[in-house]
C-alpha cells in the first residue's frame, strides 16, 4: 500500500509528508526544531508541557505540534515572536515550580529543562518559586523519586503503564498538588514497581534517577583490605561511548577493560563470560525438559531481574516454567567469590564485587533473596549503571578517548558471540538455540544466525527444526508485549492445552538490555537499533560464537562445577522464585 502524501507549508517552506505525520515530525523534516519537554518518541504524546504550540493559518487556537497531525494544505507557523514569548513564559512557569538545585542534581548538564532554559536565555526567576513539598522516595535499592523536582510531564507514567504495563506510577492528587507516585500515595517498594528504571531513562529532569552508588565503588576501591573486582554487562559496551560523544553502538569493550584496570580493580571480568555459562545451564535445563519432560514446558528465561519481579507479582502461576538459572551477573559474582577466590587464595569476604549494568533492576537483584549470597556472603556488592560509570569516569580524570585497548582477566573474562548477544532482545534465545541444537544433536547448526528472533518487533516467534523436531520459540520485550505472550500461556494452561511455545525469552525493556533503564539518556528506537547493530557486530567478530565453544567455560566446568546442572552448579548458579504481592500494603 502506498502512503498518501500531503502537501503542507511550514514557515514558508513547502514540503510533502505522509498523511498522519505530526506537525512536530513534519517540522523536523523541514529542518525546524520545535521545543518540547513532555514529548518522547517512544511514547504517545501526552501534550502536557505546552511548549510545542504552533499556529495554523485560519485556525483560532494554537495547537500542540506533538499531538496534532498535519493536514493537507495547512500553512503552519512554528516560530514567531508571539510563540516565542508564550513559550518563554510557560518555561518560566515550569521553572518556578522546579527547585533551583541544578548544581547538586544528578541530571546537571544532562537535563532537558536546563537545556531549554539555556536555549531560551532565561536569566532570572521571573515568578515567585511555587514548589511542591520536598518528598523523596528512597524506598527501593534501585531508584530515587524526588517529587519536588517532578514537572508532571507524564512520560514516566506512560512508560510505566503503557510500555511496561507495570502501573507502579500514576498521577495522584489534583491541580497544583498533582504528583507522580504509586497509586494510593505508596512508596515504590510497596507498589508494583519492578525497578526496570524506564521511568528514569525517560524522565526529562532529575525527578526519577538511579540510586547513585559511585561513591560506594570508590570506597571499596580505596579500601586496602579489599580485593576489588568488576564485571560489566554485554549492553554496556555499545552504549558507554555515548557518554564521550561517540556514536551509539560503537564497541568500546577493550577501552572499558583498561578503564576499570586504571580505576584499580584487581581483576576485570566480563559478564559475557557468565552469559555463556548461563546458556550452558539454561540450555541444558531446556534440553533436559525438552527430551525428558516436555509436559513441563515452556521454559521461560530468567536473566532479567525486572522480568523476574514482574512474573513473581503478576504471573505466579507460571513460576514452575521459569528457568532456575540465575542471571549472568549473579553467576559471575558467585563464581568470583568461590571459584576465583579459592583459586587465588583470597577470603571471599575480602572480595569487593562491583558490577556495571545497563539496568537499575540489577541493583535490586543483588539482595532480592538468600540465593544471591551463594558464596555465603552477598555475591555482588555494588551495581552501578552505565550512566554512573560515565560519571565515575569523568570525575576520575581519566581521558576515556586516550585509553589504550585493554584485556579482560582470563577465565572469567573470555566470551563468545553468544554471550555478547545477551544484550539485545532475542539474543538469549539465539544463543540458547545455537547450543541447544548441539546439545541435542551433537552437531553444529549450519547457520547460527537465527534472524527471526532479532529486531524490535514486540513479540517474535520462530520454529526451529532440530533434526525433524520442531521447537517453537517466542521472544518478547517491553513488558506490555510480554503480557500478550504470558496471557496466551495462562489461557492454554487453564484449558489444559499445550502451550503455543516451548521456549520463551523475555526482557523487560524494549530492545532488551541495550535499551535498559540504566543506559545513557535519550534512547529512541534509532539509538536502540544502533546499539543492537554494535552487539551483532561484536558477535560476528568473535572467534567463537557459541557458548559451548567458550574454552574458559569448559575449564570452569572441568576445574570446579563438573557439568551443567551439576549439584555444585545448582548451589551456585541456580535460584528459586516466590509469589510476591503486587502491592505490599
Amino acid at each position: 500500500m502506498t502512503e498518501t502524501m500531503i502537501k503542507i507549508k511550514i514557515n514558508e517552506t513547502e514540503l510533502e509528508v505522509p498523511a498522519g505525520t505530526s506537525i512536530l515530525d513534519a517540522a523536523k523534516q523541514a529542518g525546524i526544531k520545535i521545543p518540547t519537554l513532555c514529548y518522547h518518541e517512544d511514547l504517545l504524546p501526552t501534550a502536557s508541557c505546552g511548549l510545542c504550540i504552533v499556529k495554523i493559518k485560519g485556525m483560532n487556537k494554537k495547537v500542540r505540534a506533538c499531538a496534532t497531525a498535519a493536514e493537507n494544505g495547512q500553512e503552519i507557523i512554528t516560530h514567531d515572536s508571539e510563540l516565542y514569548n508564550i513559550r518563554k513564559i510557560v518555561l518560566e512557569l515550569i521553572l518556578s515550580n522546579h527547585p533551583n538545585e541544578c548544581l547538586t542534581c544528578q541530571r546537571n548538564g544532562n537535563c532537558e529543562l536546563q537545556t531549554l532554559a539555556k536555549e531560551f536565555g532565561i536569566r532570572e526567576q521571573v515568578f515567585k518559586p511555587q514548589l511542591k513539598p520536598k518528598n523523596i522516595d528512597k524506598s527501593t535499592t534501585s531508584l530515587i523519586l524526588d517529587r519536588q523536582k517532578c514537572i508532571s510531564c507524564g512520560r514516566c507514567v506512560q512508560v510505566c503503564q503503557n510500555v511496561q504495563d507495570v502501573w507502579a506510577l500514576e498521577f495522584i492528587g489534583r491541580g497544583f498538588n498533582t504528583n507522580i507516585a504509586p497509586a494510593g500515595d505508596l512508596e515504590l517498594n510497596e507498589s508494583p514497581c519492578v525497578k526496570c528504571g524506564q521511568c528514569s531513562a525517560h524522565c526529562p529532569v532529575g525527578a526519577i534517577v538511579e540510586k547513585d552508588e559511585v561513591d560506594k565503588v570508590w570506597e571499596g576501591l580505596n579500601d586496602t583490605t579489599k580485593h576489588a573486582v568488576v564485571q560489566f554487562a554485554p549492553a554496556v559496551r555499545v552504549a558507554f561511548g555515548e557518554g564521550f560523544k561517540l556514536e551509539s553502538g560503537e564497541i568500546v569493550t577493550n577501552k572499558i577493560y583498561s578503564l576499570l584496570k586504571k580505576f584499580g580493580f584487581k581483576a576485570v571480568f566480563d559478564t559475557n563470560f557468565s552469559a555463556d555459562l548461563t546458556i550452558m545451564e539454561e540450555g541444558s535445563e531446556f534440553v533436559d525438559k525438552f527430551l525428558n519432560n516436555p509436559a513441563s514446558l515452556p521454559l521461560i528465561t530468567s536473566c532479567c531481574p525486572g522480568w523476574v519481579d514482574y512474573l513473581e507479582k503478576y504471573y505466579p502461576c507460571c513460576i514452575e516454567h521459569f528457568s532456575t538459572a540465575k542471571s549472568p551477573q549473579q553467576m559471575l559474582s558467585a563464581l568470583a567469590k568461590t571459584y576465583y577466590a579459592e583459586k587465588n587464595g583470597i577470603d571471599p569476604k575480602d572480595i569487593f564485587m562491583v558490577s556495571v549494568m545497563p539496568c537499575t533492576a540489577k541493583k535490586y537483584e543483588i539482595s532480592r533473596d538468600e540465593n544471591m549470597s551463594a558464596s555465603g556472603i552477598q555475591d555482588t556488592d555494588v551495581v552501578i549503571t552505565t550512566r554512573e560509570l560515565v560519571r565515575m569516569t569523568k570525575s576520575s580524570g581519566i581521558i576515556f578517548d586516550a585509553l589504550p585497548e585493554g584485556k579482560a582477566d582470563s577465565i572469567l573474562g573470555e566470551y563468545t558471540g553468544a554471550g555478547t548477544i545477551f544484550g539485545v532482545t532475542g539474543g538469549v534465545m539465539e544463543a540458547a538455540i545455537r547450543s541447544a541444537y548441539y546439545l541435542i544433536t551433537k552437531e553444529e547448526l549450519s547457520d547460527i544466525n537465527i534472524t527471526p528472533v532479532r529486531g524490535l518487533k514486540g513479540v517474535k516467534e520462530a520454529e526451529i527444526d532440530i533434526k525433524g523436531t520442531k521447537v517453537r520459540v517466542a521472544v518478547a520485550h517491553g513488558l506490555s508485549n510480554v503480557k500478550k505472550v504470558m496471557n496466551k500461556i495462562k489461557e492454554a494452561k487453564a484449558k489444559g492445552e499445550e502451550t503455543p511455545w516451548h521456549f520463551i525469552e523475555v526482557m523487560a525493556c524494549v530492545g532488551g538490555c541495550v535499551g535498559g533503564g540504566g543506559q545513557p539518556y535519550g534512547v529512541t528506537n534509532t539509538i536502540r537499533n544502533k546499539r543492537t547493530e554494535g552487539i551483532y557486530t561484536d558477535d560476528k567478530q568473535s572467534k567463537a560464537r557459541c557458548s559451548h565453544h567458550n574454552p574458559m567455560v569448559q575449564k570452569v566446568y572441568e576445574e570446579y562445577l563438573d557439568h551443567p546442572n551439576s549439584h555444585k552448579a545448582h548451589d551456585l548458579l541456580h535460584t528459586s522464585y516466590t509469589h510476591r504481592p503486587v502491592y505490599l500494603k
Binding site: A69, N85, I89, F127, I151, R174, G175
Partner: protein
C-alpha cells in the same frame, strides 16, 4: 374519578433542603384527614426557578402562588384554601414591603421569561412518566422513528440554529452530523451532566424537574447518528437528579420507550448512568470520556474530536443537559419555530442561575438577546438593598465580568465573547459596589487552581502564579510589574493550556484588568481597597470628635490594640490591629471608621 384541584410543591434540591419533602407528606396526610383525597392531588414537581422565595407551593386551577412556606403553614393551607376556598394571603408572594400581594401572572420574575428547557419544571411530577407523556413527551421520539430519516433530524436541528449550551456554543447539528458521518460498529451518545460552575444549577434542576426530556433527546440523537447506547455522566453530589434519572430510565424501559425495539420499531437505544466524583475538569468532554472509561479524568488533545474518536475510541456525540432538553421541542414544533426565538447567531433561550447580590435569585430562562439589565432589574428585581451595580460574572470561573456599560447588550454567544466574557453554562453572579474586584477574581482563581487536573504546565502552574500575584495585590505587596506578569501569564495560559479549563481560567483576570484596571492600581499604588474586602489594606481609625471614651471598643478588641481609658479619646495601635472589625461593631457612636 377526576381531581379538581392540584397542589404543586417544589421538589428541587433547594426547596427539599428547606423541608419541602416533609411538607409534601404533611399535605398528603392533611388532605387524607380532611377527606379530600378524591378531589385534590398533590404533585411534587421540579424547580419553579424562584428559589429566593422557596419553598414554593402552587395551587391549580386558581393559580395561587405561595412562597416561603414552612411545615407549620400546611395545616392552614389545607384548611383555608382547600377546604374553605380562601386564599392564605400572608403566604402569597409580595414583591416588596411597599407593594401588595401579587398573583402569579403579575410576578415580574416570570414575566420576561420564556420556558423551553424548563417547560415541565414546576409543572409535572418528574417521577411519573405519564405526566411527561401528557405534555407531548416522547412524541418527538415517535416522530423521528417513524417519520424522519437521520438527515431529516439533523436538518431540523440545523434549521433551528441550536448551539451547544455547555459553554462553547458549537452548532449542535454539526456535532451530530460529524458523528453520523463516521463509519463504526458502535457509536455512543453521551449526556454531560457534570455541571460544576460555582453557583450554577441549571442542569441539576432540569434533570430533577424533567429527566425524560433528556432521555428522549438522547434517543433521538441515537436514531440520528446510528448509536444504540447512551451514557449520562453526572456528578455523584446530585443525588436527587440521579434518583429521578434512574426512575425515569426504568419507567421509559417499562413502556418500551428505551431499550430494544423502541415502540415496536427496529431502533434500539439504551441509557446508563455513570457517576462522576465531582472534579470540575470532568465537564471537559475528553476528560469526561476518560472518566467514563475508568481512567483519571484528564483531558486529551483534540483532534481527534469525540465525534471521530470518543468513548473507547468510538465516534461519540456528547451534549450537555440543557442542549438535550431543547431537542424534543425542536422536533415537535419545528426548527423554524425555534429559530424565530433569539438573535441572529444565537437561537432559542438560555437558562441562567441568577445569584449574588440580587433580590430574586433563582433559575431563569430567557430568550437569547435579553439584556443584562432586563435580567437583573426586571426579572431579578434589582440589587439587594438598592446598592449600585458593579458587574456581573457570566460563564462561571471561565467567564469574565460584564461591567455597567454593557448592561444593555443583548446577551448571546457572540456579544458575550466580544466583551471578554462568555456564555458558559449559564452561571450569572451579580456584584455590587461592596465587592472588590481583586477579591472576586481571587475566588475564581482559587477554584480553577483547585480544579485543574494538573496535567498541563500552563494551567497547573500558571493558575497558581496568578493566584499568588493576586494575593500579593490584596496584601499590598505588589508593584505595577505584577500587572504585567498577570497579563503575560494569562496570555500564556490562554494559548498554551491543553483544554478549555486552562485556556479560560485566566478570563476573570483578563476581563477585570480590561474594565477595572484602576481598581487594581488602587490596591497596588494606593494600598487601598475601596470595597473594604482586602483586609491587609484596611486601616481602622477612631475619630477623636466622636469618641466619648466608653471603652466598648477596647474591651472587644481581641488583640489589645486599642489604647485609652474611660472618658478619654481612644487610639488604635496599627501595629497590633488585626483588622477584624470588632471595634466598628462595638462602637455605638460611629467613631470607628474603616478605610
Amino acid at each position: 374519578m377526576a381531581y379538581n384541584t392540584f397542589v404543586l410543591i417544589c421538589g428541587g434540591t433547594a426547596c427539599e433542603s428547606s423541608k419541602s419533602d416533609e411538607m409534601y407528606k404533611l399535605l398528603q396526610k392533611e388532605i387524607f384527614d380532611n377527606n379530600l383525597k378524591n378531589d385534590v392531588q398533590v404533585v411534587k414537581t421540579g424547580c419553579f426557578g424562584f428559589c429566593e422565595q422557596g419553598p414554593i407551593i402552587k395551587i391549580l386551577p386558581d393559580n395561587t402562588f405561595y412562597v416561603k412556606v414552612t411545615p407549620d403553614d400546611i395545616k392552614e393551607i389545607v384548611q383555608e384554601h382547600l377546604v374553605k376556598g380562601r386564599t392564605v394571603e400572608r403566604l402569597e408572594y409580595k414583591p416588596s414591603e411597599d407593594k401588595g400581594r401579587v398573583k402569579i401572572e403579575d410576578i415580574e420574575f416570570y414575566q420576561k421569561q420564556f420556558r423551553i428547557v424548563l417547560r415541565n419544571c414546576g409543572v409535572i411530577d418528574p417521577e411519573n412518566i405519564n405526566e411527561y407523556i401528557a405534555r407531548d413527551g416522547y412524541l418527538a421520539l415517535e416522530k423521528v422513528i417513524f417519520q424522519m430519516t437521520p438527515d431529516d433530524i439533523i436538518n431540523e436541528l440545523k434549521i433551528s440554529g441550536l448551539r451547544g449550551r455547555g459553554g462553547a456554543g458549537f452548532p449542535t447539528w454539526m456535532k451530530w452530523n460529524l458523528t453520523k458521518k463516521e463509519n463504526a460498529d458502535q457509536k455512543y451518545v453521551v449526556c454531560n451532566a457534570d455541571e460544576g460552575d460555582p453557583g450554577a444549577y441549571m442542569d441539576r434542576s432540569t434533570l430533577e424537574g424533567d429527566p425524560h426530556s433528556v432521555l428522549e433527546a438522547m434517543a433521538i440523537c441515537g436514531k440520528a447518528i446510528g448509536a444504540s447506547r447512551g451514557f449520562i455522566y453526572i456528578r455523584a453530589e446530585y443525588p436527587l437528579a440521579i434518583t429521578r434519572l434512574e426512575i425515569a430510565i426504568k419507567q421509559a424501559k417499562e413502556l418500551g420507550l428505551l431499550g430494544d425495539n423502541i415502540l415496536g420499531s427496529d431502533f434500539s437505544f439504551d441509557i446508563e448512568i455513570r457517576l462522576g466524583a465531582g472534579a470540575f475538569v470532568c465537564g471537559e468532554e475528553t476528560a469526561l470520556l476518560r472518566s467514563i472509561e475508568g481512567s483519571r479524568g484528564m483531558p486529551t488533545p483534540r483532534p481527534p474530536f469525540p465525534s471521530v474518536k470518543g468513548l473507547w475510541e468510538k465516534p461519540t456525540c456528547i451534549n450537555n443537559v440543557e442542549t438535550w432538553a431543547n431537542v424534543p421541542v425542536i422536533i415537535n414544533k419545528g426548527g423554524a419555530w425555534f429559530s424565530k426565538i433569539g438573535t441572529e447567531n444565537s437561537k432559542g433561550t438560555k437558562v441562567f442561575a441568577l445569584t449574588g447580590k440580587i433580590n430574586n435569585s433563582g433559575l431563569i430562562e430567557v430568550p437569547m438577546g435579553t439584556t443584562l439589565r432586563e435580567i437583573i432589574y426586571d426579572i431579578g428585581g434589582g440589587i439587594i438593598n438598592n446598592k449600585k451595580f458593579k458587574a456581573a460574572q457570566s460563564g462561571g470561573p471561565s467567564g469574565g465580568v460584564i461591567p455597567e456599560q454593557y448592561l444593555d447588550t443583548p446577551i448571546d454567544y457572540n456579544n458575550l465573547t466580544a466583551i471578554g466574557s462568555m456564555m458558559g453554562s449559564g452561571g450569572l453572579i451579580v456584584m455590587d459596589e461592596d465587592d472588590c474586584i481583586v477579591d472576586v477574581v481571587k475566588f475564581y482563581l482559587q477554584f480553577t487552581v483547585d480544579e485543574s487536573c494538573g496535567k498541563c504546565a500552563p494551567c497547573r502552574i500558571g493558575g497558581k502564579q496568578l493566584l499568588s500575584i493576586l494575593d500579593d495585590i490584596s496584601a499590598g505587596n505588589a508593584t505595577e510589574q505584577s500587572i504585567k506578569n498577570l497579563k503575560a501569564i494569562s496570555i500564556a495560559m490562554n494559548n498554551a493550556s491543553l483544554c478549555g479549563l486552562g485556556q479560560t481560567a485566566s478570563n476573570p483576570v483578563m476581563s477585570t484588568l480590561k474594565y477595572f484596571e484602576d481598581e487594581y492600581l488602587e490596591h497596588i499604588n494606593g494600598k487601598k481597597c475601596s470595597a473594604g474586602k482586602c483586609k491587609s489594606l484596611m486601616t481602622f481609625t477612631i475619630v477623636a470628635d466622636k469618641c466619648i471614651g466608653c471603652t466598648a471598643c477596647a474591651r472587644k478588641c481581641p488583640a489589645n490594640a486599642i489604647i485609652g481609658t474611660v472618658k478619654q479619646v481612644h487610639v488604635i495601635d496599627q501595629s497590633k490591629c488585626i483588622k477584624c472589625g470588632a471595634c466598628v461593631t462595638a462602637c455605638k457612636f460611629d467613631a470607628v471608621i474603616k478605610g
